[in-house]
């Protein structure tokens, strides 16, 4: 699968998307747009054979009917900790690769539940 990921906090509010949040999960070979390939706030990673349970975790958020005040709901329950990946520098500053290839073990190992 391929994942669009945020690498810069969108804002300070808790319900803004944050660094490490998965934005979208798409099938292999997805035809990303120029904006999606070039926005410095995002990265695209390609991962072969990732477990569906890991995808579900990366995409999960609090249930809509959970009693959480407006503005306090985290966008995602899990995040990718880039420091746990082989080359964290790929996830800061300007983009150097349109798509970053990682193994499923690298991504599953860097997927951490937020406090």
């Amino acid at each position: 699968m391929e994942f669009l990921i945020r690498v810069v906090d969108k804002g300070v509010a808790m319900d803004c998307s944050k660094r490490g949040d998965v934005i979208s999960a798409c099938s292999d070979g997805w035809a990303w747009s120029a904006e999606e390939l070039n926005n410095d706030y995002w990265r695209i990673i390609s991962v072969l054979g990732i477990l569906q349970s890991a995808v579900d975790a990366a995409m999960s958020s609090a249930p809509p009917d959970a009693v959480i005040p407006l503005g306090q709901r985290k966008r995602r329950n899990w995040m990718i900790d880039f420091l746990l990946l082989p080359d964290p520098s790929l996830f800061s500053g300007a983009r150097t690769l349109p798509i970053i290839s990682l193994t499923k073990n690298q991504v599953q190992g860097a997927l951490v539940k937020k406090p």
């Binding site: 669009l4 945020r6 969108k10 804002g11 509010a13 319900d15 803004c16 998307s17 934005i23 979208s24 999960a25 798409c26 997805w30 035809a31 990303w32 747009s33 904006e35 999606e36 926005n39 995002w42 569906q52 995808v55 579900d56 995409m59 999960s60 958020s61 249930p63 809509p64 009917d65 407006l70 503005g71 709901r73 966008r75």
Partner: protein, 319 residues
Amino acid sequence: MTTTITKTIKAGGDYTTLQAWEDATPVSLVAVDQIWQGQASGAFSGASGTLLTFSGTTVDSTRYQELTTEAGASFRDNANVQTNALRWNSANGCSITSSGSYGTTINASGQAQVRFSKLQVEATTSKTTCFITGPTSDIDGCIFEAAKTKVVEINASTSILRNCLVVQRRTAVTECAKLSYGCTVVNCTFVTPNDLTKPAEVITGAGASVTTKNCAMFWGTALQAGGSAPTYTTCGNDNGTPPSGVTQFTYDTSLFQNVSDATRDYRLLSGSGLIGAGTVDATNAPTDIAGTTRGASNDIGCWQFVSAAAVVLMGQACL
């Protein structure tokens, strides 16, 4: 002066996923004085529950996020909109489907001022709801179908659902829709096909009384439960001894084209008791779900009946 920033969402568009469009919204639309409009086209689907979450954007009543369809891409833009069965069908126009085992196809519960129109939204599993709103949202001219405990959830006094079709396709559930905390619902059709076991209620609620006008609400053991009793104005339902503002009709093919699950079609047909039985509301329902002008006579439900002769004339006008 507020600027509308229009972005296409489709293969080859500005964005290829709904969530990428949302995530690209400036963190404060008030600060940049913009309306952030997404125009979707094609079919969007996913297996991870929620396909689109709205949250974290600073908005107000004139600067907000709006998701609609590209020109010509909606089911209502289809050349055969008057003759197509009124139901979720991705072949008719832009559609959004979740087959996930949890979540909500579109979750706007954490964001105010969302505008949403002309789309078809579906949830195919028993654990996913189609759409949940936050405050001050406006959902107009959409089709929602799900096989979940509830199909849609409208949750705030300042939100409105209008000219929409809401179909519950799961058997023996609690409700078709949850309408709560004083929201407003105008010219919507809430139904379960009549070959499925009735939900306990057509609508459930919580908190303040919901304002319900010109709504067709069929096939529940009861019309409503929970919260304060809604205010009904010229609505239709099939239960005996309806409350004030609700007229009893028999839920069958004397009202709609077809009410069986596999062949459902919620267009009105000639002679339907729902025709002309509503109250004119030029503010919230000037046109129906298909884009037909309602004029001086308002039908009950999302569909405004057009005579066969008028359909022919409309077809010629399109040529």
